[in-house]
């Protein structure tokens, strides 16, 4: 009696035939394997210069975002009015608020730290750009959260913010006085945007590694080729 192992007997481990190597699926897998080898995606060693507390703020930002999402999902499960009428709901809302505050606190320190490291050096400009865009999209997500609270703060912030947004013309499609629209932006569109951009940011960090310190005498310019300007990520060769 044969046992079904879940792997077809005729299936090779990797597509290798010419016709298979032209597959979109095979090409994507090869590209992903090339860009993110496992020991680079989840490294167990890092360059020795990474001995500073400033590096903690990146991971603190990510885990704070995780708590923002977890507490936000609980609020979403129970609906937008729950936290106004339930002490448990109010506590979850408090967790959501403080996780957002922690998220921004850690993210801003992370951003300033990366600025003073000039962390865009060595082909890391896209890593920097995605980090900044993550911050800007997060500002939008937090802002729509304040508009979705259904309380006095929402009333005041929306009636004040409308003038700025309307002045840009964006008010024609982004109506901050429309609770339903703002709630959708807050719990669907902007979180998707953050997840995509922050996810890309983290992948780029893993792809290019942590930026090395300025070399002593970096002001002494020397001709180098682009191929040698990027530090290896994670493991040494």
């Amino acid at each position: 009696m044969s046992i079904d192992t879940g792997v077809p007997a005729h299936a090779p481990a990797h597509a290798s035939a010419p016709e298979e190597s032209r597959q979109w699926t095979a090409r994507m897998r090869h590209a992903a394997e090339s860009a993110f080898p496992p020991d680079q995606l989840l490294p167990d060693r890092q360059p020795a210069y990474m001995a500073s507390w400033i590096y903690v703020f990146g991971v603190l930002t990510v885990v704070s975002l995780a708590w923002v999402i977890i507490t936000g999902c609980i609020l979403a499960i129970m609906g937008p009015s729950w936290w106004h009428v339930s002490s448990t709901g109010h506590f979850v809302n408090s967790l959501h608020l403080w996780s957002v505050e922690a998220f921004f606190f850690f993210m801003v320190i992370h951003l300033w730290g990366k600025f003073f490291m000039a962390a865009w050096r060595g082909n890391r400009r896209l890593t920097w750009a995605t980090g900044v865009i993550s911050f800007l999209v997060s500002v939008g997500a937090a802002f729509t959260g304040y508009l979705s609270q259904q309380n006095f703060d929402s009333q005041w912030i929306s009636t004040q913010a409308k003038d700025g947004i309307n002045s840009t013309g964006a008010g024609s499609v982004f109506n901050v006085l429309n609770f339903g629209q703002m709630l959708m932006w807050h719990i669907v569109l902007l979180p998707i945007g953050i997840a995509i951009i922050a996810g890309l940011h983290v992948l780029l960090v893993r792809r290019h590694g942590i930026v090395p310190p300025f070399a002593v005498g970096d002001d002494d310019a020397a001709a180098v080729t682009p191929a040698t300007t990027t530090a290896p990520a994670g493991e040494p060769a």
């Binding site: 989840l42 490294p43 167990d44 060693r45 890092q46 360059p47 020795a48 210069y49 500073s52 903690v56 991971v59 603190l60 708590w67 936290w83 106004h84 506590f91 809302n93 408090s94 967790l95 608020l97 403080w98 996780s99 505050e101 922690a102 003073f116 490291m117 000039a118 865009w120 920097w128 900044v132 500002v139 937090a142 304040y146 309380n151 006095f152 703060d153 912030i157 009636t159 003038d163 309307n166 002045s167 840009t168 013309g169 964006a170 008010g171 024609s172 109506n175 006085l177 429309n178 339903g180 310190p213 300025f214 070399a215 002593v216 970096d218 080729t225 682009p226 300007t229 290896p232 493991e235």
Partner: protein
């Protein structure tokens, strides 16, 4: 020119790095993330237990008209005669001439046009009054007003505005001195009564269907009065108090909006009729500049010049100095 020469480029310390050939140390990324996850959990639970979160109840038109019927009536007449903030706002609510903010020819508010059309007289006053059942006197007053000439309507509303400026609140009831304001007194009085019963909240929210989530009309009506602004001022939320980056109570609010809010405090934005657009243009330029900072000469050199990195990597440089 050879390929090698083409590929070579001048090393720029603010753009390039030299390959790291130093030591590597063990690093458990998942363990660090897990510990951080727990640490943040403890932090936010402590903050939530100690500080909770603000939830100041929303103001309703019912509350406003009951607590301050004079302010409500003074606002209602400006909605009827088209002099309120909303009535003269321009896009995206209406097409009031010369109302859009602009910087020279740059006038995006005008370019995008009206997308949430609001006729304050019809939407905030006449329309809601027409929904009142069994009110023949009020309906007759509305009809009289609608059938009058523009000049006559203007004369009535002007007279009422003068009279309501001296109105009084007697136990929650609106008392307006007598005047030659025709049907307008009955109309505004009925609207105030309607608001005090809570009927106006529902009528302004209604979009002709059972479920509604768009609060544009009731919020604009509220914002045209002084009651909402006075409450906000008492909660240190006014524009000159760094406005909407704060929230009710002693909470940090949206502290990350400090730069955006700061521009509203400084000249010329704090006195400009185009201040909102000017602040937004500044913030757009700064935001785009931050994204593309690695490409901007001088700015991208600031980290190297300030040498804060020496503090960040002090152990690295200390070890280098020791070797």
């Amino acid at each position: 020119m050879s390929d090698d020469t083409k590929k070579a480029r001048r090393f720029k310390p603010d753009r390039d790095v030299k390959e790291w050939k130093g030591a590597y140390v063990p690093y458990d990324i998942l363990k660090e993330a897990f510990v951080a996850f727990l640490a943040v959990a403890v932090l936010i639970v402590l903050l939530a237990v100690v500080f909770s979160s603000p939830d100041e109840p929303a103001i309703t038109l019912k509350t406003w008209s009951a607590v301050d019927p004079v302010d409500f009536a003074q606002t209602a007449i400006t909605e009827l005669d088209g002099t309120s903030g909303t009535a003269s706002y321009g896009p995206p609510y209406n097409s009031t001439p010369d109302s859009s903010q602009h910087i020279g020819f740059f006038e995006p508010e005008q370019w995008f046009g009206v997308h949430q059309p609001i006729d304050t007289a019809q939407d905030f006053v006449i329309g809601p009054l027409r929904t009142l059942p069994n009110t023949p006197v009020t309906q007759a007053a509305v009809s009289l007003y609608q059938n009058a000439s523009g000049a006559q309507q203007n004369a009535w509303t002007t007279a009422y505005e003068k009279a309501v400026a001296n109105a009084t609140d007697v136990n929650g009831r609106l008392h307006v001195p007598a005047g030659r304001y025709g049907p307008v007194g009955i109309m505004v009085g009925s609207l105030t009564d309607m608001a005090q019963t809570g009927g106006l909240d529902g009528t302004l929210l209604s979009e002709g269907q059972f479920y509604n989530t768009n609060y544009t009309k009731p919020l604009l009506f509220l914002a045209d009065g002084t009651y909402l602004a006075d409450k906000a001022d008492a909660q240190h939320l006014s524009g000159d108090q760094w406005g909407m980056m704060n929230e009710t109570g002693n909470y940090p609010g949206q502290a990350w909006l400090w730069l955006y809010t700061m521009w509203y405090q400084v000249y010329p934005m704090n006195q400009s009729t185009n201040g909102d657009l000017e602040v937004w243009v500044i913030m757009m330029v700064l935001s785009i500049g931050l994204i593309f900072l690695p490409f901007i000469p001088i700015l991208r050199s600031i980290p190297r010049w300030t040498r804060v990195y020496k503090l960040i990597w002090r152990r690295h440089y200390r070890e280098l100095a020791g070797t």
